[in-house]
Amino acid sequence: MNYKELTVRFCGIAGDGIVSSSRIISGACADAGLHVMVNDIYSAEIRGLGKSTSTIRFSGSKVYSMGDGINALVGLAQQESIDEIEDIREGGSVIYDSSSPADIPETESLASHIPPEVNGYGIPLKTLANQASGSNRGRNIVSMGALCHLYGLPKTIFINQIEKIFKRKGDKVVESNLTAFELGYEYCQNQYPLNNLFVMDKKAKPLQIISGNEAVAHGAMDCGLKFFAGYPITPATKIMEITAKELPKLNGWTIQVEDEIAAIGAVLGASFTGTRAMTATAGPGLSLMSELINLSVMAEISAVIVNVQRGGPATGLPTKVEQGDLNISLYGGAGDSPRVVMAPTCSKDCYTSIQAAFDLAEKYQTPVIFLSDLFLGQRLETDDIKRNINYKKSTRIKPTRQQLKNYQRYALTEDGVSPLIVPGEDGAFYSITGLAHNTAGNPNFESEVHLTMTQKRFRKFKSMVKDLPPVEIIGDADADIGIACWGSTYGAIFEGMQIARHNGVKTKMIKSIMIYPQDEESFKTFFASCKKIIVFEMNFQGQYAALLKSTYNIKPVEVHIPSVDPVSPAKIAAKIMEVNHELTQ
């Protein structure tokens, strides 16, 4: 059979080299100009022993989600891999270790669980690994050689990648890994006929591969981030680890502080001095930041807060994805507490829209909550990101000399944004406070002053509309079914729409990075043009749907999908078909 797209899964436990295998394949594919998406799943349970899988989907054309099912399973840990078999599509394959003597009894082996519609390929992984390096270590590389042959993948891209990745470990390591690869390849060549062929465009240009977390960190640094404060938390820690390494090279700094309260506190302090500052966390940390985010709203201090959502509530599901933190992001502040909420849909979005987040934060002197999630943050993705270090910074507006004379920190203006000087700058000084205050910044509790200042703070969100990343309408303009979604579910829904279209059902979707504020006119126009609206999201309550309902007075079909491994495009399509059926009846 010929393939234009393949999904491969490695499954094993610590020490099996799951991640490195996955990085080699994905790197090789990206270098060959293939589009790739990689998703790793760790069990949070047994430290250093738990099962982990890495799934790599690659294709000649853009990949938007992890798709449905897998073509090939490489079972490096036999027992752990058994559960994965059910994900294999018809005609797919399992690569398993056939070394003798076997580690485990026949009945517990992976091979004995392979159903007839799936092809099992026994390869003496351990034996060949030992042959190559004198240890069990290279089993993953042997299996990669096998895979390469079984799907007729070009050998050179793997060889190049192995050389590239192991280079810094020395020639010997490169050599033994190449041998392991070769042995796996040869074994298959001799043993199994070539049933499958991956067809690819030889002239495609190399692509870059990047995770959402990396894209966020680099996007932020490329647009002037100079201070990061944070507290470790899965799945956000990676962002801090990148800025810790990279910021000092840019004369910036990253500090790990004692808790998330201190993290947002330090960010507000740094931002007070005019520095672009950020923190990154997940639900439990965001909860702790609530009070200081409110201070950021009230005292109008720019701040970017990245929240990489995991399953909730409470400590919840630290290693599973969910889109459950929309409510707390929008409404988690005491009092009338408006803040910008954004949600990127892919790595590229992460890069570009974290820059947009800084623009909004800085120009409008407001906190921005940037809602990434575990899946988006950790998955690797080829995306065509144009690096933008000359990002035209939208800075905080400075007062004129005239305005400096009797400087009012919170001067009332048409767009609600007050010209700003910061400590270290000459000409005026002021104090800021989380108390209600007058235009000078001094505490004031009169009703009218409070109303005026509240209006000012909300006015910024109206003014902002002209500066928002635009919404996009995707799909068939004449479709009756309109879809809304947010964040990383976008990819699977996009692919679900394609499947539905394939089955004759047209849809369109409104894609908006902005959750609040939104370009309400565009949303109204879009919704008005739909006979039926479906809102998809990865939580139980329908948090986005509730926002849309109260804002646009719509009655959508709500599809709530609480924490799962990546959303299935097939299921999305099925839901679309179902709604269409009701509509056409």
Binding site: I46, R47, G48, L49, E108, P232, E241, A244, T254, Q256
Partner: protein, 286 residues
């Protein structure tokens, strides 16, 4: 859990030399084989058995971290709380039901980092609880970032150029806060760990067990070996009854003293409450 993992975990327990399994729950510890935390678990098993604390009155409250998983591995009631919040929760438990034996377990990050604000107050109240602080000078569960007890210069995921902040010493803190029972133990010294946990449980008032409990997975600097080179015992005539002296010993870097630093008997929080109840009762009668 499938049998392969199960075997590996059992191997870990074996390696940790946990023998007395009658206090085990049916849930197997999730820790890496060799993790220092096993020793305190064993110590608590032994102390609970020796003291014949009924399971219905045995409450373990913990924070989040590898250390935080403690309550699931021991028979009794457990409250696996939030990161850093075990002490306030234990406070509520102990005041609401003074009959319960309340043990708090948490890591160095949990207790001195995010939860550091609660520590002095649990001590000030002299609640009759035992706090086992499992100190591995690292954030274990989140895979190896510096903690408040990590040494200056330590390289970690978030300190690629070396840790700047000076480490804080939980033993010193407890003494400075006024704890009435302060001991430091080392997870390699299995018997001492068990003995001191037992004494701590018997103590009436707030007791700290500061356990040097290496993380074998993420800390390459603070290890069984590195501790082994610096730990030492108190002089024979050391009497654990002088806070100033105890503070001095606590701060010593070489040797790092192990054992009981201070024990002091003053009324506990619940003693005070009882006194007040009595006074109210008598005035109501009079």
């Amino acid at each position: 859990m499938n049998s392969l993992n199960k075997r590996a975990v059992l191997e870990g327990l074996e390696r940790a030399k946990i023998k007395n399994k009658s206090k085990w729950r049916d849930i197997l510890p999730t820790w890496c084989p060799g993790c220092g935390h096993f020793t305190a678990l064993n110590g608590l098993y032994e102390a609970a058995l020796d003291l014949k604390i009924p399971e219905k009155n045995f409450v373990v409250v913990s924070g989040i971290g590898c250390s935080g998983r403690f309550p699931f591995f021991i028979k009794g009631f457990g409250f696996h709380a939030l990161h850093g919040r075990a002490l306030p929760i234990a406070t509520g438990i102990k005041i609401a039901n003074p009959e319960l034996t309340v043990i708090v377990v948490g890591g160095d990050g949990d207790g001195v980092g995010i939860g550091g604000g609660h520590f002095p107050h649990a001590v000030r109240n002299n609640l009759d609880i035992t706090y086992i602080l499992l100190d591995n000078s690292i954030y274990g569960l989140t895979k190896g970032q510096v903690s408040p007890t990590s040494p200056v210069g330590m390289i970690s995921g978030t300190t690629p150029y070396g840790n700047i902040a000076r480490p804080i010493n939980p033993t010193t803190l407890a003494l400075a806060y006024g704890a009435t029972f302060v001991a430091r133990v080392f997870s390699r010294e299995r018997q001492d760990v068990s003995d001191l946990i037992k004494q701590a449980l018997q103590h009436k008032g707030f007791s700290l067990i500061h356990d040097l409990s290496p993380c074998v997975e993420f800390n390459r600097l603070i290890t069984y070996k590195s501790w082994n080179q610096v730990v030492g015992k108190f002089p024979e005539d050391y009497k654990a009854d002088n806070r100033t002296l105890a503070l001095q010993y606590a701060e010593s870097k070489e040797p790092v003293y192990l054992g009981l630093f201070l024990k002091e008997n003053i009324p506990t929080f619940n003693d005070h409450v009882k006194q007040i109840f009595k006074k109210i009762d008598s005035t109501e009668k009079s």
